[in-house]
Symmetry: C2
Subunit: 432 residues, 2 copies
Amino acid sequence: MSEIRLSTNPYKGTRDFYPTDMRLRNWFFGKIRSTLLASCFDEYGGPMLESLDLYIAKSGEELAGEQTYNFEDRGHRRMAIRPEMTPTVARMVAGKIGELNFPLRWFSIPNMYRCENPQRGRLREFWQVNVDIFGCDTYEADLETIVSAVRLLTAFGADSSMFTVHISNRRFFNDVVSSIADTDIEGCRKISKIIDKRKKIPREVYENELKALSMTDEQIATLDSLYTATVEQATALCPDSVGSAELLHLFEMLKKIGLSDYCCFDFGIIRGLDYYTGTVFEVFDNAPENNRAMFGGGRYDNLVGLFVKNAKVSGVGYGMGDVTLENFLFTHNLVPAELCEKKVLITRFADVPYEAYMSVSDKLYALGVTASVYLGVKKFGKQIDYAAKENYSHVIIMGGDELAANSVKIKNLATREEKTVALDTLTADDFN
Amino acid sequence: MSEIRLSTNPYKGTRDFYPTDMRLRNWFFGKIRSTLLASCFDEYGGPMLESLDLYIAKSGEELAGEQTYNFEDRGHRRMAIRPEMTPTVARMVAGKIGELNFPLRWFSIPNMYRCENPQRGRLREFWQVNVDIFGCDTYEADLETIVSAVRLLTAFGADSSMFTVHISNRRFFNDVVSSIADTDIEGCRKISKIIDKRKKIPREVYENELKALSMTDEQIATLDSLYTATVEQATALCPDSVGSAELLHLFEMLKKIGLSDYCCFDFGIIRGLDYYTGTVFEVFDNAPENNRAMFGGGRYDNLVGLFVKNAKVSGVGYGMGDVTLENFLFTHNLVPAELCEKKVLITRFADVPYEAYMSVSDKLYALGVTASVYLGVKKFGKQIDYAAKENYSHVIIMGGDELAANSVKIKNLATREEKTVALDTLTADDFN
């Protein structure tokens, strides 16, 4: 063996999940899964590798090549590790478009890779909850998608003081901006890029860029008024727009189903308008120290176009990263102190044969009690130390006397209470 | 957009998991997870990408390069998509060797990639259940590892007629083969390679290869006798071997804890002896049409050597692929016909406002009943068709009359029974 030792660090931007980390992840993915299943969303999955062409077709050669880990396989196919799930799910929907029973309510929790420098909240390997409704062209899908996002967060105990769904509409955006700036759809697109980055650039740069697109001070001031406008005020600027009608109806429905406290209109929500075609939204963390968009989504109209000619399947959905969710849960103290279930360590004494302990272990397994026999023959005190460090809730003590009496002592490590129970009468309740 | 349409097929050797496939996977991984957790195994996880050096250090430049998907990242690091989990877990254990509370009982269910031509039971992307006990040098870990493998399969309803754990021991192998063939450890290694492939080569080739290693006809006959020997007969050939003592003790313990029916001695179990150092085992499917090793594992002594100097951590464990398990479950009819849970479709009528249906949906969500409102406004018959195709167990019918009476009709789609229930008194039991 070589004398050079390998590094024990995980690859930059990726994480090791030791049991404590994994328990946290399993806890929150478990909650997400059960919440979505309870709302009749079906889980799907797809491969980690896809043809690079899928991402090129969606995002262009340059972006796809830059943002993905990609390589040639031995058959000279250009493959990429998936950086997002939408192209995969689009391929899957297109592949069975004649068999699937639309509308679909689908979700997935895949791991994926982005080739970028890691920073707070953005890693190279991450998991992303993807929730979509496919094949429903009417407002119900928009509404249900928002409902599912609210349910996901409230399932963890979050309330409307902790997060807000900021909502806008792409059709409305185009109509109101073309009316204010007296421009066409291409002009709207250019303005949207400036609006999208406005919080990251100085006000002066923002204004100059808008002026370079021939906007006047007055027009810029009207645009400004939209950032703080209510949905009624905003849509009044453009009363005949289909987007205005969609927005007003969505907010009316949100009110009727009791979600007003969780939602607000926000003209500044852009989300790469080239892709979305109707409702767009972002879910914000309301904590002052963490105030920013956690995740978002919206409606897009042509999911399967790259695969199937003359077929249209619309989608409304969102993607939520695991790192963002974890930050949110910790910020708002929504992670329980103890994620371990009740579990029992069966301690050992040298004068009792191992098979007697294994028999207790089998008995507990049959009763549905999580348990294991201590592996090894260390002193009793060391075994108790092991149990405490590994978060065992109870220990079983069976020395020669207990074995002879066909009984065990059960010790609750939290309360330090001990009791002796006959093995024949042992039940799961003995470990409460 | 280009006129060229992309393929809807997944990459060769990988799979799409549509909801029906995913339910199956979630069902069997869920059972595996809960069975292992019930035996106090802790789940861990690691990144999909690792330094290629990890696999080179374990398997050599050629094998690692050939079997993995690997590429250079932008920092000129040679990365590989993991083809197995052992190097990752070795790195993780080495990285926290001073903090971890040994012995560890760990498991993981990662996806991984192997660069090879797909064939029955072997795909390019697969999932593998990895179960290991680290840091226990005595027989208990071997025993518990075998117990966990038996529990995994019996949790699905498998019994001893369906599978058998074939067990051997590397120390015993070396001792008995060096005694029979009068050779050294390197000679044993060469003979092990021939034994390992004996079922895939003609008898004549097998004999000629052994003779090329200077084995006589008589020695080959003695070797032959071992393939059908009981553990007592086999160990009698080599009574002073530590491996013999280990094997006899392990089988004695298996008998004492009631696992004899699940286990047998099998001298032919090799599993790349270069890596394993004690107990080795393979779990066989007993079905005549599928009779072969499903998965296996064993004891190895130096897990962290590549990472930490002068530290030794032993391991006993096994890895089980998802495709193999799935084949086994289907072969023995262990997959339930229906994996869907109870779920309710709330059908819609045009004269009832949508928010009234959403309110029923919220009520059911609060009651813990899986439910969703039909998305769209198709005729009632179409909605029922949708419910049937998507495996809904019940539908709720609320027309104008029911709305006025503040009640709903519940229809059980399997029994076709209908009942009317006041909304205020609705409970989860109404959907039994």
